[in-house]
């Protein structure tokens, strides 16, 4: 319901783009390519789900890329050097990243600081910490990793739905349910509508802020684990700039950067659009991969302009004292 028109437009752009790509390279329209697309962008989909909550609540989280980087290094070192069982390492890093996000949320709320600054500090902090752990790439050879990498559900047409793609889809669905069906979700929208008003209406703004950033960092941690599955290594320079790709996906997905409106499904479509552009460039073979960035930039511009238009339209009351009886 909320933010439906922008989501529809995102969906139309995705379908139209897909059809155009498929016309030029018919093989794109196969479950094999789609499966790879989901796998390649699994970490992005997960972290973007968290970012959607943050942006709808009127905030921003610049630290997610660094949290992913830190997570890969931490997991690699924990398993390979410190001899932790992988599951223990996962639980540890998820606790750590959740605490990190909660701390950022607390700072934002208690000191009334702009989320941009606080999470920018968090970004440097997490990136710096990952360099502190290790400056070089640490390969992960644990059996769990090869097992997970090998696991896949065969789709008709020979495509593989990998474990990490499944994790991503599950998180997107769970995120959508959390946002649209729970009191927590309603409060996220309330916060994005107007913090002061939300607080006057009884929303525990402080707790909500902490929870929202905790969720974002937690999902960034999960994205980091998924990323380490994807690359089978931990590297302090991994996922540099991913926070920006994430924000782009969220905005292309129809979420208002100023908060108050948006959807997880839209974000998922935004991730797919970015993945589609990447895929097209791979297929073409002659284009520089930087064209992904250019295309994303153009799309972003288009969507922000579109949203401004829609917001301007929405400011005019559409229904005039409808149904006011008595």
């Amino acid at each position: 319901m909320k933010g439906l028109p922008p989501v529809l437009i995102t969906a139309i752009v995705l379908v139209a783009g897909f059809v155009l790509c498929a016309l030029q390279f018919p093989t794109i329209a196969s479950t094999r390519v789609v499966g790879n697309l989901l796998t390649d962008n699994a970490f992005l989909g997960i972290v973007a789900t968290g970012m959607t909550f943050v942006i709808i609540s009127g905030g921003i989280d610049l630290s997610v890329g660094s949290v992913i980087g830190f997570t890969t290094v931490f997991v690699a070192l924990a398993i390979e050097r410190w001899g932790m069982p992988p599951l223990v390492a996962f639980v540890a890093i998820l606790l750590l990243s959740a605490a990190f996000g909660a701390a950022m949320g607390a700072v934002i709320h208690v000191f009334d600081l702009p989320p941009f600054i606080v999470t920018l500090a968090g970004m440097f902090l997490a990136r710096g910490a990952s360099f502190l752990l290790s400056t070089e790439s640490v390969p992960i050879t644990a059996p769990v990793y090869s097992a997970v990498s090998d696991f896949a559900v065969r789709m008709p047409g020979g495509g593989r739905l990998t474990a990490i793609a499944i994790i991503m889809l599950a998180i997107v669905i769970a995120g959508a349910l959390l946002l649209h069906l729970t009191r927590f979700g309603a409060n996220v929208y309330a916060l994005g509508g107007n913090r002061t008003t939300a607080s006057l209406m009884g929303v525990a703004v402080g707790k909500m802020t902490i929870k929202i950033y905790m969720l974002s960092s937690l999902l960034a941690g999960i994205a980091g684990i998924v990323f380490s599955f994807y690359t089978s290594a931990g590297y302090s320079l991994s996922a540099v700039g991913v926070e920006l790709d994430t924000i782009a996906a969220v905005v292309i997905g129809g979420t208002l950067l100023t908060g108050g409106q948006g959807s997880v499904i839209g974000t998922f479509l935004g991730v797919l659009i970015q993945g589609l552009i990447q895929t097209y460039i791979n297929f073409d073979g002659t284009l520089s991969s930087w064209w992904t960035k250019i295309a994303t930039g153009v799309l972003l511009f288009a969507f922000i302009a579109l949203q401004q238009g829609l917001v301007a339209l929405a400011r005019r009351p559409v229904v005039k004292s409808a149904g006011a009886a008595s």
């Binding site: 909320k2 729970t182 009191r183 509508g193 008003t197 209406m201 559409v318 229904v319 005039k320």
Partner: protein, 514 residues
């Protein structure tokens, strides 16, 4: 002050509330009594302390002294949320709801019906519909609140407040942005709620509405309680006297007689000029060498008239003429081009730029009029600044001093100098003497007279009736966003102005907002 024993036991009892902000005493020993089931108007001019009193009662501001009792028990809310919990709900003019959420979510935010951790959307909508039906609304509760008119948003806010078991409902200027029909709906709801035993505090500057809906009236002035009366037994003139705090007085105009100014040349005229929902159409002639005063209560449409005249607001009907020639005033730029100047009421926010020097502030409007491609040289700027600093006696006489460091009176003079530098034919002054000490006060008035003698046309808004009477050749009286009376010559005295403001204007009252 009235101290008759209450026949009904009071629902809300406020006793001896005082509140200061720094050296400013916003409230001094104010009492206020609200009975269950009554609609009680809280009145007073700008700065009387109405908002402060509401904010103290609802815990937005901590109080310095005094007690608040609700149903006999003392309450000390520390926040608006706590006040709401205690049963005191406030609905402000700016609706405090979330336009991006659905109507139903707004009604039930943070208390939605749940099952297994999931909001029961259908159940919530059903309840929202039922709740609003009580208020005579039948709307799609799943649509975003922002899609609906302000009136519906107001009713939604009231419905939410009442559903949260409010015993006291404070409505702060609820009708300011509603049209007549919407006001009727709101009043119907207010009466219905009062019948249920809820005590309603109604803050408004529309006196007709106050007389239509309220049972009793409490008037504040300058942070003090003036009195509490039964609405039915309080004549309008008496009420206005309580609000403005003057006896029907003696001062008459010292200006030229009525016959003389007829001879003066017309500088600008406005025929049937107005804007729907802003100010009812009015006729106004401004002549060279003449001061026209605009009098009326807060919210009567004085500033609105000034903004229309200057072009800060676009009129949607009527014709404006400058020196006889028809003109279009679409923006302040147009106003400036036709030789108009406007000194707004909020000097600090709308007028001066505190960080810039006296010189920079003075040349601002002139530079804007000339356009950016014809910059004033530094030498010209210095000369202009020096001239006006001398002419208006701005102190200290240092053109390079940041304006923020000057006193209020001198800031006002800088603002005047800014417009005088553009050699205007018409100058609009909105509350030129507000927040200025007594000495500077007299000086500003002397300046107004002098400017006028030099052939400038002046339109001056002031809440100080004595002042308006002293310098005006003609006085236009406004009420409920319409021009209701024009006084000239010997007819100008405080008594006549008060009488015009007080006249029962039920017939004209709502034209302006139709």
């Amino acid at each position: 002050m009235e101290n008759s024993p209450d026949p009904v036991s009071p629902l809300l009892e406020v006793r001896g509330i005082s509140k200061s902000f720094g050296a400013v005493r916003a409230l001094q020993e104010v009492d206020f009594t609200l009975r269950a089931g009554e609609i009680h108007a809280l009145l007073g001019e700008n700065g009387a302390g109405k908002s402060t009193l509401i904010k103290v009662i609802t815990g937005v501001f901590p109080r310095d002294a005094g007690t608040v009792r609700l149903g006999g028990e003392e309450v000390v809310p520390r926040s608006a949320k706590a006040a709401l919990g205690a049963g005191i709900a406030t609905v402000y003019q700016e609706v405090n709801l979330l336009p991006n959420l659905s109507v139903a979510q707004n009604l039930f935010l943070d208390r939605q019906p749940m099952r297994f951790g999931i909001v029961r959307e259908g159940e919530m909508r059903r309840r929202a519909k039922a709740l609003l039906a009580d208020f005579g609304l039948d709307i799609d509760v799943a649509a975003p609140l922002g899609n609906y008119s302000v009136a519906i948003q107001h009713v939604t806010a009231i419905a939410r407040a009442v559903d949260l078991s409010a015993r006291v409902l404070i409505l702060d200027e609820p009708t300011a942005s509603l049209d007549r029909h919407e006001v009727e709906i709101l009043f119907g709801i207010m009466r219905q709620l009062a019948q249920r035993g809820i005590g309603i505090v109604f803050v408004s500057h529309f006196l007709d509405q106050v007389y239509e809906i309220s049972d009793r009236i409490t008037v504040l002035r300058n942070g003090r309680l003036v009195g509490e009366r039964e609405t039915a037994s309080l004549p309008r003139l008496e009420l206005i006297r309580m609000m403005l705090g003057r006896e029907l007085a003696e001062t008459t105009s010292t200006r030229a007689s009525a016959t003389e100014h007829k001879a003066r040349e017309i500088c600008a005229s406005f025929e049937g000029y107005g804007k729907a929902g802003y100010v009812a159409p009015f006729n106004l002639e401004l002549r060279h060498g003449e001061v026209v005063g605009l009098a009326g209560l807060l919210g009567s449409g004085r500033t609105e008239t000034a903004r229309l005249v200057f072009g800060a607001e676009r009129a949607d009907r009527g014709q404006a003429r400058v020196e006889g020639a028809p003109v279009r005033l679409q923006s302040p730029r147009d106003g400036v081009r036709h030789g108009f100047g406007y000194c707004p009421e909020e000097r600090k926010t709308d007028g001066i730029i505190a960080e810039l020097s006296v010189r920079e502030n003075i040349v601002l409007a002139l530079q804007a009029k000339r356009g950016l491609h014809r910059p004033l040289s530094r030498r010209e700027q210095d000369e202009i600044a020096r001239r006006y600093v001398r002419m208006l006696d701005i102190r200290p006489p240092d053109p390079e001093r940041p304006v923020g460091l000057l006193s209020g009176g001198n800031q006002q003079k800088v603002l005047l100098a800014r417009w005088l530098a553009t050699s205007p034919r018409l100058l609009v002054l909105d509350e030129p003497t507000r927040g200025i000490d007594v000495g500077a006060h007299a000086e500003i008035i002397r300046l107004i007279r002098e400017l006028c003698d030099d052939g400038l046309a002046l339109l001056v808004i002031s809440s100080e009736l004595d002042e308006i009477v002293t310098y005006s050749d003609r006085v236009v009286v406004l009420r409920d966003r319409a021009h209701v009376e024009e006084l000239a010559g010997e007819a100008i005295d405080v008594g006549n102005i008060l009488a015009a403001i007080a006249a029962d204007g039920a017939a004209t009252a709502h034209e302006g907002r139709a």
